[in-house]
């Protein structure tokens, strides 16, 4: 399904979620993880998504990134309505339109920092030199040029997180989803990383949702969205 905004190549919102409901079936029980959630994120907005464990913030983030499909409701990312996408379409969508930074960083341990960025190209369109130039540019912007040939095991926690941010930006996404990016870092390093996230997102005009427990992150976000029991309380 293509929206008018997409066909025109422009869109006002990076994310539009309307009436999102997600119900998990566990044995004979139904667990409502999200209950008619509406969330709109502007095209260069940074939103901090906070809430207690089990509140539904990770599920919301997963649906926004095309990792899960909602039980009900509409999800439009960068002008693309993805709520009805098949698994194959969602794979293509994730590869082309969103970036992820995971809680445990999850770099590929046998690839260097540069190769961890290029893996996005390898599983995707294979742009070759263009991708290599982009990886080098991102590494330079993230202050990792001299670490490009290092394996993850040779990098510090902050450097790994920066490589993960670089990987999330490789496909020039409309929306980047951060899953508790500072949980494994000490407070000063966490502060640096969040500041870096803000700088990078703002410099590119890219929207971001940062899932966090850390209240300090909210200072760097344009807006904080609270979620509790699967409902948003802004």
């Amino acid at each position: 399904m293509t929206t008018l905004a997409e066909s025109a190549g422009t869109f006002d919102h990076a994310l539009e979620m309307r009436g999102i409901t997600k119900v998990y079936r566990v044995a004979d029980d139904e667990v409502v993880a999200l209950d008619h959630v509406d969330l709109i994120v502007a095209s260069d907005e940074i939103v901090a998504l906070v809430g207690p464990s089990g509140s539904g913030k990770t599920t919301l983030c997963s649906i926004a990134g095309g990792l899960l499909s909602p039980t009900d409701g509409s999800v439009v990312v960068a002008g693309r309505e993805i709520s009805g996408y098949s698994g194959h379409q969602l794979t293509d969508f994730r590869r082309e339109s969103v970036g992820f930074v995971f809680q445990t960083v999850n770099l590929i341990p046998f690839l260097t920092a540069r190769e961890n960025l290029l893996v996005v190209d390898e599983i995707g369109r294979r742009l070759g030199r263009v991708a290599r130039d982009r990886a080098d540019q991102l590494l330079a912007e993230l202050g990792l040029t001299d670490r490009a040939a290092n394996l993850p095991a040779q990098l510090s926690g902050g450097q790994k997180q920066r490589v993960a941010i670089g990987r999330a930006l490789m496909n020039d996404p409309s929306l980047v989803l951060f899953d508790e990016p500072t949980s494994a870092l000490d407070s000063s390093l966490g502060d640096q990383v969040v500041r870096l996230i803000r700088e990078e997102m703002k410099a590119r005009g890219t929207a971001a949702i940062i899932v966090t427990h850390d209240d300090r992150i909210t200072h760097y976000a344009d807006r904080t969205v609270h979620i509790e029991d699967g409902r948003i309380a802004e």
């Binding site: 667990v31 990792l67 794979t91 995971f102 809680q103 690839l111 599983i123 989803l177």
Partner: protein, 371 residues
């Protein structure tokens, strides 16, 4: 795919156990295959060397050269069949040979053949009485041109005038002379098996290629059932022990291939379980299950190719090191190649057991969003 290859390059230790096990299996496969080929070659060379299309045995011989006797009148009937272009008599006798330089009781098992239609590598006119060509394998027994071998209890003397390759029969070295030489040696050493003038054990037949398919039946009909006519391939398969050797070895080879499939299946299933989190991340950032599974298959194929390459080298070294006339092992390119292909196919089949596991990896697990 490059990701899969990089993993093998950067973490070779991870694949070492599978490579070692598959290498041992490759060597076993190629060694078993080489033994089978060697055994079959040493049993069938005399028949494979025949430049003929058909072998005619007597009807009551149960396709055994030793039991078969073809009388001159039957031969005449065979020669008269339309489509038969050339007919030659064939006789054989298995005897121990005394070779100069070896002990009096150190007999070398040999088979003396008398022929009319020259097999491959032999002159069209058989050598004169008392002279023979020897199979190459007898060189290992110190036989050279000019050596006189004394055959059987009568110590019938035959002198070597040349060599011919790949003509062993029932695992023994062969000697090739005229039918006259054969009859003399047979009469002297096997009085019970003595044959009359013009009698041979079997006929080898060349036929016109057109309509050759029905020629065996036409020959047997023309002799009124006094003969059983086989193609060369059928005659080879009817040789004692040949089909049994093939069946037994092929069964062992089959079991070995199943073991290879199980090894690959278990190894890559374990590897896939270990990689579940990694696959989750790769799927989350847009890798398809197909891309990931192709990577698994590629790694299995590379492991199988490395194992096969080592197996080929080991087989060639083994072939060079094994002294002639001891273990009947032959490393042929066809056998080595087919073993490598079988191993690669086994590796591909083995890693398909990991397919379901790769498909089931949930990308949402990477972000903790799975239920």
């Amino acid at each position: 795919m490059r990701l899969a290859l990089r993993e093998m390059h950067r973490r070779p230790g991870r694949f070492a156990i599978a490579t070692v096990i598959l290498t041992l299996i490759a060597i076993l496969l190629m060694f078993l295959g080489g033994l089978l080929d060697g055994l079959v070659a040493s049993s069938t060379g005399a028949f494979r060397a025949q430049r003929a299309d058909l072998v005619v045995y007597s009807g009551n011989s149960r396709n055994s050269l030793e039991r078969s006797r073809i009388e001159p009148d039957v031969r005449h009937q065979v020669e008269s069949v339309p489509g038969v272009t050339r007919v030659g008599g064939l006789g054989s006798v298995q005897l121990g040979g005394r070779i100069p330089g070896r002990g009096a009781r150190d007999l070398v098992p040999t088979v003396l053949f008398g022929y009319e239609l020259a097999p491959r590598g032999l002159p069209s006119t058989p050598p004169g009485a008392g002279t023979v060509y020897a199979d190459d394998s007898l060189r290992a027994k110190n036989v050279v041109v000019g050596t006189t071998i004394h055959l059987g209890p009568a110590r019938s003397a035959v002198t070597i005038v040349g060599f011919v390759s790949d003509t062993r029969y029932s695992g023994q070295g062969t000697l090739w002379g005229s039918l006259e030489t054969w009859r003399q040696v047979l009469d002297a050493n096997r009085p019970d098996a003595r044959v009359g003038p013009g009698v041979v054990q079997a006929l080898v037949v060349q036929g016109v290629s057109l309509g050759r398919a029905g020629l065996p039946e036409q020959i047997d009909r023309a002799t009124d059932g006094a003969t059983t006519t086989l193609t060369i391939t059928e005659a080879i398969n009817a040789l004692p022990g040949v089909s049994q050797q093939r069946t037994v070895f092929n069964q062992i080879i089959g079991v070995t291939v199943v073991i290879a499939i199980v090894v690959v299946a278990l190894f890559f299933a374990l590897l896939t379980v270990e990689r579940t989190a990694l696959y989750g991340v790769l799927k989350a950032i847009g890798a398809s299950s197909r891309t990931l599974f192709v990577g698994v298959v590629l790694q299995a194929v590379v492991v199988a190719l490395i194992a096969s390459l080592i197996g080929v080298v080991a087989s060639l070294v083994l072939d060079a090191l094994i002294p002639a006339g001891t273990i009947p092992f032959v490393a042929t390119p066809a056998r080595l190649l087919s073993s490598a292909v079988v191993l690669v196919v086994a590796a591909v089949v083995g890693c398909t057991f990991s397919l379901r596991r790769v498909l089931r990896v949930d990308p949402a697990a990477a972000i903790g969003g799975a239920p």
